[in-house]
Amino acid sequence: MIDKRVKTMAEAMAGIKDGSTVLIGGFGAVGQPNQLIEGLVEQGAKDLTCVANNAGNGHVGLARLMELGRVRRMICTFPRTPGSVVFEELYKAGKIELEIVPQGTLAERMRAAGAGIPAFYTPTAVGTLLAAGKETREINGRNYLLEHALHADVALVECWKADRWGNLVYNQSGRNFNPVMAMAAELTIAQTQHMVELGDLVPDTVVTPGIYVQRVMHIPYLDKA
């Protein structure tokens, strides 16, 4: 029997190594795997490269992981939010590296990793500071940048419903980065609001096929912020 369900956070986090690249789903608070991030804080892996749209908020979750000195490098699109105080301090102090990636390029680099595409061309960021060091190529009279697949060791994702094969569906805009992150990592760990029986999800409506998910943990929480 294929059973990807795990019962404890220790099982969920087992084997995450120092130096890992960790993808963290969510756009703002929505679709963010908060409990799994706390689990990673507990688990202890350090020297991490974390990939997320934002750079943490307040002093919990990703911000806490940074505050503990466990994040060597952030790859994100929008590190400056009102709550990103921990990141900004560490960054000013030179204690954390930052790679800013345009949002569409970030999403596509992860999809490419999942899809066996090592590199692709994009018009985004041509002629800007973020093109520095990147190869430019003219195709049909327009300039493009070469961007590379972004592979990861671990993805932490949040979903609405999951089954024991790891099939996932998301709720509304909770989908965001989660499906592409699930494709791009060797080890994808999902926290799900609802655990359902195998066969309860309609095949036509599954968003992330279970082949992309290694572990699922049932973590219901209040659906209000």
């Binding site: 989908r175 965001n176 499906p179």
Partner: protein, 220 residues
Amino acid sequence: MPDTATASDIKALGRADMAARLARDIEEGWVVNLGIGMPTAVSDYLPPDKEIIIHSENGIFGMGPKPAKGEEDFWLVNAGKQYVTLLPGASMVHHADSFAAIRGGHIDLCVLGAFQVAENGDIANWATSENDSAPAVGGAMDLGVGAKRLWALMEHTTKEGEPRLVERCSYPLTALGTVKRIYTNLAVIDVTPGGFKVMEMVPGLSFDDLQARTGATLLR
């Protein structure tokens, strides 16, 4: 910059009126992405008799009006992380597919805020200096190159009176040569092959007044 009209003469638009002015030019059936900040307010002024599909970079097509107090759905936010609603006909995709729509030219109009727009259509809206600590780009560079039409919505000058419409941007660029029109608190200006062309001015403002507040030559 010289100031050739007194502030009291000029009926400069407030932020709400700027958003409303831009909203009037959005056509039925367009797929429209509204950037964070001032552009988001455009959705409050869409003509109720036209169907317009508002896209949010986090994967929503078909956003509706703001939810009523107490009716917010935690799982439904826009690019600015504000609560939104869905219209009948809405659909949801993941982030890579959302930006596929943007980069692939499937968005009819994108409205971005800007620090500066140049007369060649360059836009600078993400960082104020090359030495900016941790600048935040979000989806602006993708939107800047991908939409069929890019309109900028911004104050005509900085608080200090420095022009934001310039010959060449001094701030780091977001996208090159893609802005088609600019809506400011003073005017509507098209970016043409010849440069900035004034389409509309607020009451009380003369062409010379506007030119004096602008960092590049204006065409009539």
